[in-house]
């Protein structure tokens, strides 16, 4: 759970950095997309490094979902069924974060999003806003469509909440939570990563929707 989650976070940070190249213009963005496929040449074939990344990610995603399902089945049993306490009071717990409630449905939203996202910008099966041959143009066409921006926004909020709990939890699982002061620092770090990724990704669609980039 922790290791696979952190691998995905590393990927998300790199992916977000790449997306922000939209602000450097069409040439820079398209060059970047092309460059991703030439990293490591000539030792690796064209697109080789990208495939290495894809395989690592796929393994991480499968490991993450597998662990989530195993944990979920174990937990549902352990806590004595779904309707645990009859009392309707304290349903929100004593101190737990809102984010900690969203991991399961949030995770499902994220999977559905990733599938749609691949169909959209990797495989070009769906082409909201019209097809195009340049990666930059595909992005711009898509995000001129308001409902696509809405879909991406909801998904990134789910990712933000997932990361708010996930970053804290992963680092704690790995033993970084050594004191009350460390707890404060890890929680701040989780907020920073969650907000940076959510806002960083959303900058692009909103800039296009509002015509800052076109």
């Amino acid at each position: 759970m922790a290791v696979s989650g952190l691998i995905m976070i590393g990927y998300l940070l790199a992916h977000m950095y790449g997306n922000l190249k939209v602000f450097a213009g069409q040439q820079a963005f398209d060059d970047y997309a092309h460059h991703l496929r030439t990293i490591g040449e000539p030792i690796l074939p064209y697109g080789g490094a990208l495939w290495v990344i894809r395989i690592v990610l796929l393994v991480a995603i499968i490991a993450h979902i597998y662990s989530a399902v195993v944990l979920w089945r174990r937990d549902r049993h352990a806590r004595g069924g779904t309707s645990r306490y009859d009392s309707p009071k304290a349903r929100r717990g004593v101190q737990r974060s809102y984010a900690s409630f969203t991991l399961r449905w949030g995770g499902i939203v994220i999977v559905l999003f990733v599938i749609y996202h691949l169909l959209h910008l990797t495989w070009h099966v769906v082409t909201p806003g019209g097809p195009a041959s340049s990666p930059y143009q595909r992005v711009v066409n898509g995000f001129e469509v308001w409902w696509l921006v809405a879909v991406y926004t909801i998904s990134l909020l789910a990712i933000g909440l997932h990361l708010r709990h996930g970053v804290w939890s992963a680092l704690t699982t790995l033993g970084a939570h050594t004191s009350a002061a460390a707890r404060r620092r890890l929680n701040i770090l989780a907020y920073v990563v969650a907000i940076a990724i959510t806002v960083g990704f959303l900058l692009v669609p909103f800039s296009i929707l509002f015509g800052v980039v076109n």
């Binding site: 944990l71 174990r74 937990d75 049993h77 352990a78 806590r79 004595g80 069924g81 645990r84 306490y85 009859d86 009392s87 309707p88 009071k89 304290a90 349903r91 717990g93 004593v94 101190q95 737990r96 974060s97 900690s100 991991l103 709990h165 804290w168 939890s169 704690t172 699982t173 790995l174 033993g175 970084a176 939570h177 050594t178 004191s179 009350a180 460390a182 707890r183």
Partner: protein, 248 residues
């Protein structure tokens, strides 16, 4: 004050249970929560009804025998044991929901009494030191750093009441297990079996059917002894170390 309690009534381990309401008039605010239940039980007995079964022993917050979920919170609104909770924490006219700890490894025996012997089996799988120590050593014979002594002592205050499990959204007993791993793992006497201890205790924890810890923190928030959440991260460190390098 006059209150109403809604209590989980269950005649036996395999019987169905349900919440039953009782009015409890004339409650003194200085009564402990368990004394309030004692008074209710006297009245039930006088009326020829079955008294409500609940566990308690020392009634001074040190044995860990008592413990019920009050209004959805393990041990109720104060961070203390149920026996140390007083009726002044509630107000006239309140309706209190009283339920047993709920977790698969803690089956209900009767009403509010659950079987917590799963905890004993976790301890039996490593929560001890087997060095023959003889009589108590001189205090300065094996120096212990002050910070380690403090952390070990914090962890050693666990009374094994089970509130952490009752509060945990995933039914994990990691705070309990981590408290013993930390207590012994920080002291010189605990070193020889440190790695085997954490591996064995976590394995037994999982076999008993407790859930996995997801670092939500409800356990530490209800722990009557205030065992800190970072105790679990200490266990995680020991466990990672033991799994990566089992023999050094």
């Amino acid at each position: 004050m006059n209150i109403t309690v809604r209590v989980w009534r269950q005649a036996g381990p395999d019987e169905p249970g349900k919440m039953v309401s009782y009015d409890v008039p004339d409650v003194d605010e200085h009564m402990s929560f368990l004394e309030m239940l004692d008074v209710l039980n006297e009245r039930l007995t006088t009326r020829g009804e079955d008294p409500i079964a609940f566990d308690s022993d020392c009634r001074e917050g040190i044995c860990g025998t008592c413990g019920v979920v009050i209004n959805g919170v393990a041990h109720g609104p104060q961070q203390t044991t149920t026996c140390q909770l007083h009726m002044r924490s509630f107000s006239d006219g309140d309706v209190l929901d009283i339920e047993p700890w709920r977790a698969d490894p803690f089956p209900v025996l009767k009403d509010l009494v659950v079987d917590r012997s799963a905890f004993d089996r976790i301890i039996a799988s490593g929560g001890f030191i087997s060095a023959p120590t003889g009589s108590a050593p001189d205090a300065h014979a094996a120096p212990v750093a002050k910070a380690d002594a403090d952390h070990a002592f914090d962890a050693a205050t666990c009374i094994g009441c089970g509130a952490c499990v009752a509060a945990c959204p995933t039914g994990s007993a990691m705070l309990f297990t981590a408290a013993k791993v930390t207590h012994l793992g920080l002291l010189p006497q605990g070193q020889p079996e440190r790695k085997a201890r954490v591996v064995e205790m976590v394995a037994t924890h999982d076999e008993e059917g407790f859930g996995g810890c997801t670092n939500i923190g409800e356990c530490a928030a209800v722990c009557p002894k205030g065992i800190p959440l970072e105790t679990i991260s200490r266990l995680n460190r020991d466990l990672l170390g033991a799994l990566i390098r089992p023999h050094t």
